[in-house]
Every structure is written in structure tokens, then in C-alpha cells.
């Protein structure tokens, strides 16, 4: 196993005034693996995701993402991470195509990639309609396209299956699923489903690590206890 780990966190912390949103978080994620993060609301899952995405700077500890230490080398990581969170990050009055082209320009990605992705999620027909006219399922498909547009080796997914219909789920699986070969960090509120998808599971509670083990070694009940 020569490839360096995609993510290496050692004692990472992030302040929020007097509180610690993340405290002493340590985990190592090998390249291509899937880490699923569990925890109740306010546990720090989103904060962790945002730190990995270089949107928030870690305040303490050692953070290494894709081989680069953060925040010192954040610019080397930016552009190699794909984020799919609650906000679709799409402008409602622009069409799917216009939105994706905009993101393509920001990331220096050629336009044909936009067309290619629109084809893959079968959205060619509605690509020119303003995004606010799309159903949530279709919107999520566009959001997925946006997240993988620049072909990032690391994907950060905040409850990705929330709005999808089964047909769409099948379409996006090769883009953001295990088969995509990317390293993935997924937050989940579904203990059974989440564990099934994970290589590695991390449980957060109050910003601290309450649970960390390879998925195969964890019982669903241990995860459920986090929410108790």
C-alpha cells in the first residue's frame, strides 16, 4: 500500500469563541476509501467536512489532506475537493447548463465536460430551464454534477441521498459512489445504511471522537448509541 493516505488528522481542533466545535479529532483515511461520519446534530460533522474542504481553517492539531498540510497549503488542495452539502450551490435563476458552465470556468474545466455530465445524469432535456423550476430530485442531480465537475480525488458528501429518487440514485452512483474510485467522506444519519457503505466509521459527539473503527468491526448498536 504505497499510496499516501488521502486524509490524516491528528488532534485537530477548531474553536468557536470559548467553545471547541472540534476537539482532538484524529483519523486516517486511506486513498480511495470511504469514511462515514455519524453523530447527532451539533456534533461537529459539518465543521469537520468544511475543514476538510478548506472552507474552515483548523485551529490546532495537524491536518493533512491529499498530502498537503492545512491551512498552510490550502491552495494546493482547493480545486481537488468536491463538496455536496445541503445548499445546492446553484443560482436559482440560471439554468443547469449556465450554472455548470460557470463552475467550469471557475475551475478551468472545458465546457464539453459539462455536456458530458448532463448526459450522464440524463438532464439534457431540462438543461436550459431555470434551476428553480426543477424538482428536488433533478436539482440534486445538477448539484452532483457540480460537485464532480472538476474531477476531484476527494469527495465530501453531506447526506447525499437525501433528495434522490431511485432512478437518479442509479445514475449518480458511478459519479459519487464507491465505483468512482474517489476517496469519500460521507455524513450520515442512517446507522445501518451508513455502515454498509463505509470502509471506516467515525462517530462524533460534542466535537470529540466517540467512535472510530473499520466498518466491518462495528456493530450497528454502537452507532445508534451515539444518538442516544
Amino acid at each position: 500500500m504505497d499510496a499516501p493516505p488521502a486524509i490524516e488528522l491528528r488532534g485537530v481542533s477548531r474553536r468557536y469563541g470559548e467553545r471547541l466545535a472540534l476537539a482532538d479529532v484524529s483519523v486516517t483515511v486511506p486513498a480511495g476509501a470511504t469514511l462515514v461520519v455519524f453523530g447527532p446534530n451539533g456534533a461537529g460533522k459539518s465543521t469537520l467536512l468544511r475543514v476538510l474542504a478548506t472552507l474552515l481553517r483548523p485551529h490546532g492539531g495537524a491536518t493533512v489532506v491529499l498530502g498537503e498540510p492545512l491551512p498552510a497549503r490550502q491552495w494546493a488542495v482547493r480545486g481537488r475537493v468536491g463538496l455536496l452539502a445541503h445548499d445546492a450551490l446553484l443560482y436559482r435563476d440560471l439554468s443547469a447548463r449556465e450554472n455548470l458552465r460557470f463552475h467550469a470556468r471557475l475551475h478551468g474545466v472545458p465546457e464539453r465536460r459539462v455536456e458530458e455530465l448532463l448526459d450522464r445524469v440524463e438532464l439534457r432535456g431540462r438543461a436550459d430551464d431555470p434551476v428553480r423550476t426543477l424538482s428536488r430530485g433533478l436539482l440534486q442531480r445538477v448539484a452532483v454534477c457540480r460537485a464532480v465537475l472538476h474531477d476531484p480525488p476527494l469527495l465530501l458528501l453531506d447526506e447525499p441521498r437525501a433528495n434522490l429518487d431511485p432512478a437518479a440514485a442509479a445514475l449518480i452512483e458511478p459519479l459519487i459512489g464507491r465505483a468512482s474510485g474517489r476517496t469519500r467522506v460521507i455524513t450520515s444519519h442512517d446507522p445501518a445504511g451508513g455502515l454498509a457503505e463505509a470502509d471506516l466509521a467515525l462517530g462524533l459527539r460534542g466535537g470529540r471522537v466517540a467512535l472510530r473503527a473499520p466498518a466491518a468491526e462495528i456493530d450497528v448498536r454502537a452507532v445508534e448509541e451515539l444518538y442516544a
Partner: protein, 269 residues
Amino acid sequence: MHAKGLRALTLATLAALTVTLALVVFYAPNDADQGFIQKLFYLHVPIAIVTLVAYVVAGVLAYKHLRTDERRWDVRSYVVIHIALIFNILGLVTGAIWAKASWGHWWVWDEPTLVSFLIVFLLYATYQPLRFAIEDPERQARYASVFAIMAGAFVPLNFIAVRMASSLVHPRTFATAEGGLPGEMMLVFLVSLAAMTLLFWLLVKYEIAHKHATWQLRALRRRLLGDDAVAPLGRSAAPAIVPEAVGRRADAPAPAPSISPSDAPGAAR
């Protein structure tokens, strides 16, 4: 530790203020036209100068904060602006009194220092509401610093623009028939300026020392009595000083060898 030298400074300030008062009342010549009230000039103008310089200094402190990302610079910047705002109000009040005595109106648009003083006040009066409107303490400090830098650059620019715009009907403060302040007036003026500067500095030091004491006390209570003994911080415009030096917070575990982000290999930003 922040009270070091405070006593000496207090004594020096009191001495300077006393000397100034004595000089103003007994030594400075009475103005032929305006009489005793004209002596307010010895208070008003030094206050104004100290205030404007303080605002610029606060901008520099804010710049240091952005550069080093160290909380203490933000605290200093905040306190300097805070005290400067008080001086600003004092300056406006003394200016108004002086204007009434000298020119018969409580406000004159032709005195550019006074006018730019008002504009600057209106700007810096937004500093605390701005801080208060941002809940995330880190972001609050950062945005406040951006504001302080922009406003600090604004002060001289504003002064120049207002000065250019005012009609030069009324005599400028430093102009006499000869074109400059006579020796005795200049002496009193300089002494007063020194006293005001000391007073400003003293107030800043007091406030910073007070803040540090309050925060250390809070941290100690937390550590000794647990988190529940301390009321949670509400929203606040003032920067929080979380003294790492006091020791581990009660809720923090023994720290693992912590590599601060600036030490991370790969050089700084």
C-alpha cells in the same frame, strides 16, 4: 502582568494634567477677543489630535491582527477605538462650546477639524454595532480589523477633503497675525498635547488590564468550579480573551503535541 507600570503611568498622567491645568489657567495669555473661554482651545485641539491619531493607530493594530492572527492585536485595536470614541465625543462637546463662545453658534461648518471630527465620529460609531452583528468571534475580530484599517485610512483622507472644501472665512486655529502660535501659547499647547496623550494611553492600559483580569478570573472559575459555574457568553461586541496561559480549561484533555498551523511544513501563506 498587564498592570505593570500602570502606577507610574497614572502618576505621570495626573502630574501632566495638573501642570496643564495650571498653565492654561495661570500662564497662557488671555485672548483679547474671546476672553477666558478661548482657553478651551488648549483642551479641544489636543483632544482632537489625539483622537485622530488614535484612530490611525487602531488601523495599524488591526493590520497587525490580520497579519499575525493573534487575538491580542484585536483586543488592542478594539480598546483604542473604544477610548478614542469617548475622546471623540469629548472633542465634539468642547468644540461646540468653543464654537459658541468664539463665533456665537453651537456648530460651525467652516471649522474643518470640527467637521471632519463629526464625520469620523459617525463612522466609528458603527464599529461596535458592526461587531455586535457578527456572532462568530473569529469572524467578528477579522471583520472588525478590516473595518479599522479602512477607517484608519479614511481619517487623513477625510481631513484633507473637508479642509479643502471649507471656506476659509474663519481664522484657522494656528494662524495669528504673524502666522503662527506665539511662544507661550505653543508651550501650553504642547504640554496639553502631552497630557492628553498620556491620559489616552493610561485609559487604554486600564481597559486592557481590566479585560485581562476579567477573563482570567472567568477561566479560573471554569477550571476550578467547572463549566456550570460560569454563565455562558452571550452575544458581545467585545473581543473575548481566552487566556491559554492560565492552564488547561476544565473541559480540555491533556493536549497532544499540538502542531499549530503556522508550523506546518510547507511554509507560511
